[in-house]
C-alpha cells in the first residue's frame, strides 16, 4: 500500500511538472498543442502502471515466504555429582522456520536448528490443505508426532523442558512420514492420523554401545508405525474451557536376536530375527483453562502400554596358532585355537506407564508461574527391589578339540584344533527400568512481545533400586576421568537450575 501511495504521489508530481513545462505563451492553439502531449503523458502513465503491476507481482511472491524462529540461550547449574562441568552456558535452540506458500492451501516448511556444533533439519514437510471444506490437510515429510506435549512448541513450554515420559517415548519430537489432519472450521474437533517410519531418533545400542539405528533419514525396519490423536474443546461459558483428547501409538520394531523377554526379564518366546516386536500404547489428555484473576491452567496426560527394544547379535572370531617341540619324544605339536564369541542381547518388551500434571498461573500480561509433577516408570512389572536382580541368562561355552597325528615314532607330528564357541546371551535389569518422578518449578517473565526470561528448578527423584545384598549402581567419570559409581539404592541428588533467555520472532 505504501508503494502504491508513493507511486501515486510520484505520478501526480510528474504530471504537474510536465504540465508546468507546457508553455501556453508560445501562442499555439491550446487543443492542438496539448493533444500530443496528453497522449505522451498517457503512454508514460501506462508504462508506470505496467511497472507497478510487475513490482506488485514481485512483492506478492515475497509475501508468500514467512519467516519465524527463536533462539534460546541458557545457563544451567547441575547439582548432580556425576556431571562435570557442573555449570555452563549453552544454546538450546537456534531455529529458523521458513514457510513458503506458493498458492492457497499449499505450504512447504523447512526448519533447521543451528545449534552450535549440531546442525539438524528438524522439520521439512509439505502440507496440502483441501480448499473446499477447509477441513482436511495432508502432511508429508518430517514433522511433529501427534501428541499434546510434542506439538507444544519448545518456545512456549512453561516448564522449559518436556516431561521425561514424552522425551523417552518420542525422542527428538519429529518423525518422518505422512499425516492426515481433520480440523473442521466450525467444530472444535481435531483428528490426526499419521504413519511414520517409527524409529526416528530411537537409540538401539549394539554390543559395543554403538547405535544400530544411526541413520536419520531411513528406517530401521520395514514396519511402519501408526499414530492417531483426537481432541475436542469445550467452552465453559465465561469461566474458560476444557480440551480433552486421546492418542494411540501402534507400531513395531524388528527383532535383532532370536529371544524375546517379558517385562519381568523371563523368556516370553523365541522369535525369528527380523520379526515384528509390537510397540503399542494409548494415552488420555486434558487441558482445563479457567479465568480466575487471569489465566489458570491445569493440564495433564497419562500414557500406558508396551514398548519394545531390539537386542543385538554379533559374532567375532579369533584364531591363534602355537607349536611346541618335544625333543625327548621327537614330536612336534601344532595347535590351532579358534575362539568364536557371539554376543547376544535378547529383545525385550517392557510394560510402562507415566503421566504429567501442570499447574500454571498467569499474573498480569508478563508473569507466568508453573509447577509440574511428572512420573515415568519404564517397567511397571519390576519394583525397585527387583532392579539389578531380575535378569535373563542363556550364556554358554562349548569347546571341541580335534587331534590328528601324523607319522610314527620317533618323528611324530600332532596337529590339534581347539574350537571354543562362547555365547554371551544375557540381559540384566538396570537403569533402563528405573522409574523417575520430577517436580519442576518455573517462572517466566515476558519482557516484551519477543523476549522471555525464564527461571526453572528441576528436582528429579529416582526410584530406590536394588536389594540389601545387591546394590544397583551406574558408572560415571568424576572430574579428571576417575571412574566412579552412583548408588541407585539411594535417592541421587541431581537437581538442575536453568536460567533461560529466549528471543522469538
Amino acid at each position: 500500500m505504501h508503494m502504491k501511495k508513493l507511486t501515486f504521489f510520484t505520478l501526480s508530481a510528474g504530471l504537474l511538472m510536465m504540465l508546468a513545462m507546457i508553455n501556453p505563451a508560445k501562442g499555439q492553439s491550446g487543443t492542438d498543442t496539448l493533444a500530443p502531449q496528453v497522449s505522451t503523458l498517457r503512454d508514460k502513465i501506462s508504462g508506470v502502471e505496467d511497472r507497478l503491476a510487475t513490482a506488485e507481482a514481485d512483492l506478492a511472491k515475497l509475501t508468500k515466504i514467512k519467516l519465524s524462529g527463536y533462539i534460546q540461550a541458557q545457563w544451567q547449574h547441575f547439582e548432580g555429582a556425576n556431571i562435570y562441568p557442573s555449570n555452563y552456558f549453552s544454546v538450546r535452540r537456534a531455529r529458523v522456520k521458513i514457510a513458503y506458500e506458493p498458492s492457497k492451501g499449499v505450504a512447504f516448511v523447512l526448519q533447521p536448528d543451528f545449534q552450535p556444533g549440531n546442525f539438524v533439519v528438524k522439520e521439512a514437510y509439505t502440507r496440502l490443505n483441501e480448499p473446499w471444506l477447509k477441513t482436511f490437510s495432508l502432511w508429508v515429510g518430517k514433522f511433529n508426532r501427534p501428541n499434546y506435549e510434542v506439538e507444544y512448541s519448545s518456545s512456549d513450554l512453561e516448564a522449559l523442558e518436556r516431561s521425561r515420559m514424552i522425551t523417552t517415548l518420542y525422542p527428538g519430537e519429529y518423525a518422518i512420514g505422512a499425516k492426515l489432519e481433520v480440523a473442521p472450521q466450525k467444530i472444535p474437533l481435531k483428528f490426526q492420523l499419521a504413519l511414520f517410519n517409527g524409529n526416528d531418533s530411537q537409540v538401539y545400542p549394539d554390543a559395543t554401545g554403538v547405535n544400530q539405528n544411526a541413520k536419520d533419514n531411513t528406517d530401521f525396519d520395514n514396519y511402519k508405525d501408526l499414530m492417531a490423536r483426537l481432541t475436542y474443546a469445550f467452552k465453559l461459558g465465561h469461566w474458560g474451557g476444557l480440551t480433552i483428547g486421546t492418542h494411540g501409538y501402534f507400531g513395531g520394531v524388528r527383532a535383532v536376536s532370536d529371544t524375546l523377554l517379558k517385562s519381568d526379564y523371563s523368556k516370553n518366546k523365541s522369535v525369528a530375527v527380523g520379526s515384528k516386536l509390537n510397540r503399542n500404547w494409548v494415552g488420555v489428555e486434558a487441558q482445563f483453562y479457567v479465568d480466575f484473576l487471569g489465566g489458570l491452567v491445569v493440564k495433564g496426560e497419562y500414557i500406558m502400554g508396551v514398548n519394545a527394544f531390539p537386542g543385538y547379535n554379533s559374532t567375532t572370531s579369533t584364531t591363534s596358532f602355537t607349536s611346541s617341540v618335544n625333543t625327548t619324544k621327537d614330536t612336534v605339536t601344532q595347535t590351532y585355537t579358534t575362539l568364536k564369541t557371539t554376543s547376544i542381547a535378547p529383545n525385550i518388551q517392557r510394560n510402562f506407564s507415566g503421566y504429567y500434571v501442570y499447574l500454571i498461573k498467569n499474573i498480569g500480561k508478563r508473569n507466568q508461574f508453573t509447577i509440574r509433577y511428572d512420573k515415568f516408570d519404564p517397567n511397571t512389572k519390576l519394583s525397585g527391589g527387583d532392579l539389578g536382580v531380575a535378569s535373563y541368562n542363556a550364556s554358554s561355552t562349548t569347546t571341541t578339540t580335534v587331534k590328528n597325528t601324523f607319522g610314527t615314532s620317533p618323528n611324530v607330528l600332532v596337529n590339534k584344533e581347539v574350537n571354543t564357541t562362547k555365547v554371551n546371551n544375557s540381559l540384566t535389569s538396570g537403569l533402563a527400568d528405573l522409574a523417575y518422578s520430577q517436580i519442576t518449578l518455573a517462572w517466566s517473565y515476558y519482557f516484551d512481545d519477543n523476549i522471555k526470561i525464564s527461571l526453572a528448578y528441576d528436582i528429579p527423584m529416582n526410584e530406590k533400586a536394588g536389594t540389601a545384598g545387591k546394590v544397583m549402581s551406574g558408572n560415571y567419570s568424576a572430574p579428571g576421568g576417575t571412574p566412579t559409581k552412583l548408588d541407585y539404592s539411594n535417592m541421587i541428588h541431581q537437581n538442575v537450575l536453568t536460567l533461560r533467555f529466549q528471543a522469538k520472532f
Binding site: 492457497k104 512448541s153 487471569g294 489465566g295 498480569g364 508478563r366
Partner: protein
C-alpha cells in the same frame, strides 16, 4: 563450647541474611507481578469499527478524564495478534476469533479470551450512484467477487467490465464477506484497499466499481439491495432488516479481551454495553446488540 557458640552465631547470621535476601527477592517478584496497571487502555483492531471505537473513547474520556484510551485500526487480524502478543488491552474485531487464534491465546495466557458482542453491522454492497443495477442476489455477488461474472451486462447492468474493490486479508470484513458471500477465493482482479473509507471512495469515483464494507460508511455511493435468492425481495441494511434477520449479510461486531475485565477496563466495557455506548453505536450507523 565457646567455639560451638561462635559457629552457631555465624550460622544464625547467615540464615538471617538468606532470609533477608530471599525476602527481597520475593518482594521484587511480587512488585513486578502485581504492579497496578496504569489507567491507559489501548484499543486496536477492526477498521470497520475504528470510527465507532474512537467515538466511544472520545465520549468516555470526557466523562472519565483519569482514563486515557488510545485507539488504532489495522484490521481484525492485526488486533487479535496484538491481543495475543500483549500489545493491546482491547481488540475490536468484525469477525469471531479463529480456533488457531484461541489456541495461541491459551498457550500464552492460559485463557480462551473473552468475547463481547458490542454491536451489529450489515455489510453493505456499494455501487456507483450512476450504476443502474439496484439489487443483486448472494449468488450473483459470489459470482462477481470470485471473478466468474465479469461484466455488468450479466446482472442487468451496462456492457462494461466490473471493477472490484475490497479489503486486505487482515480485515475481518474481508474474511466475513469471503466466508459468507464469496464462499471461495476472491478474484485476482479485486483491488485491495486499506480501509472501508477507501473502498467507498474508490467506488464513488468509478462508474463500474463495486465494493463492500460497513453500513456506516456508505456515503456518496449507492447501497445495492441484497437478495438471499431470486425469489426473495432485496433488502437494504437498516436497523429493522438487521434486527429481524431479513438482511442477508449481517454480523456481530466484537470486543475481545484476554481475561475477564476488572477495574477501569470493566467500567469501560460496561459503559459500551450500556445505554450511552449503545446510543453511540446507533449514531455511528451501526445497530445495537439488544
Amino acid at each position: 563450647m565457646t567455639k560451638y557458640k561462635v559457629q552457631n552465631t555465624n550460622y544464625i547470621n547467615m540464615k538471617k541474611k538468606s532470609f533477608i535476601v530471599t525476602g527481597f527477592a520475593i518482594l521484587a517478584v511480587a512488585f513486578f507481578a502485581f504492579m497496578p496497571a496504569p489507567k491507559k487502555i489501548t484499543v486496536k483492531g477492526s477498521d470497520t469499527m475504528v470510527i465507532l471505537a474512537q467515538k466511544w473513547a472520545e465520549v468516555y474520556m470526557k466523562s472519565h478524564p483519569e482514563v486515557t484510551l488510545q485507539v488504532t485500526g489495522g484490521g481484525s487480524g492485526t488486533g487479535i495478534s496484538a491481543l495475543i502478543n500483549g500489545s493491546t488491552d482491547i481488540c475490536n474485531a468484525s469477525r469471531p476469533m479463529k480456533q488457531s487464534e484461541i489456541d495461541k491465546l491459551k498457550e500464552r495466557y492460559g485463557s480462551l479470551g473473552v468475547e463481547i458482542r458490542c454491536a451489529k453491522d450489515g455489510i453493505t454492497v456499494y455501487v456507483n450512484e450512476s450504476n443502474p443495477v439496484k439489487e443483486l442476489t448472494l449468488k450473483q455477488l459470489s459470482g462477481i467477487f470470485s471473478g466468474k461474472i465479469r461484466n455488468w451486462k450479466e446482472v442487468g447492468g451496462p456492457d462494461a467490465q466490473i471493477k472490484l474493490y475490497g479489503r486486505e486479508n487482515s480485515s475481518g470484513t474481508y474474511v466475513f464477506f469471503q466466508e459468507n458471500v464469496v464462499k471461495g477465493d476472491y478474484a485476482a482482479s479485486c483491488q485491495t484497499l486499506p480501509g472501508t473509507a477507501a473502498v467507498v471512495n474508490a467506488v464513488k469515483n468509478d462508474k463500474y466499481g463495486i465494493g463492500y464494507g460497513g453500513a456506516a460508511y456508505a456515503k456518496g455511493v449507492k447501497d445495492c439491495l441484497v437478495k438471499k435468492d431470486e425469489k426473495t425481495p432485496g433488502y437494504a441494511a437498516t436497523a429493522e432488516t438487521i434486527k429481524n434477520g431479513t438482511y442477508p449479510i449481517s454480523r456481530y461486531l466484537y470486543i475481545y479481551l484476554r481475561n475477564r475485565p476488572t477495574g477501569e477496563l470493566k467500567s469501560y466495557i460496561d459503559w459500551i454495553l450500556g445505554p450511552e455506548g449503545q446510543k453511540l453505536v446507533v449514531e455511528q450507523g451501526y445497530f445495537p446488540v439488544k
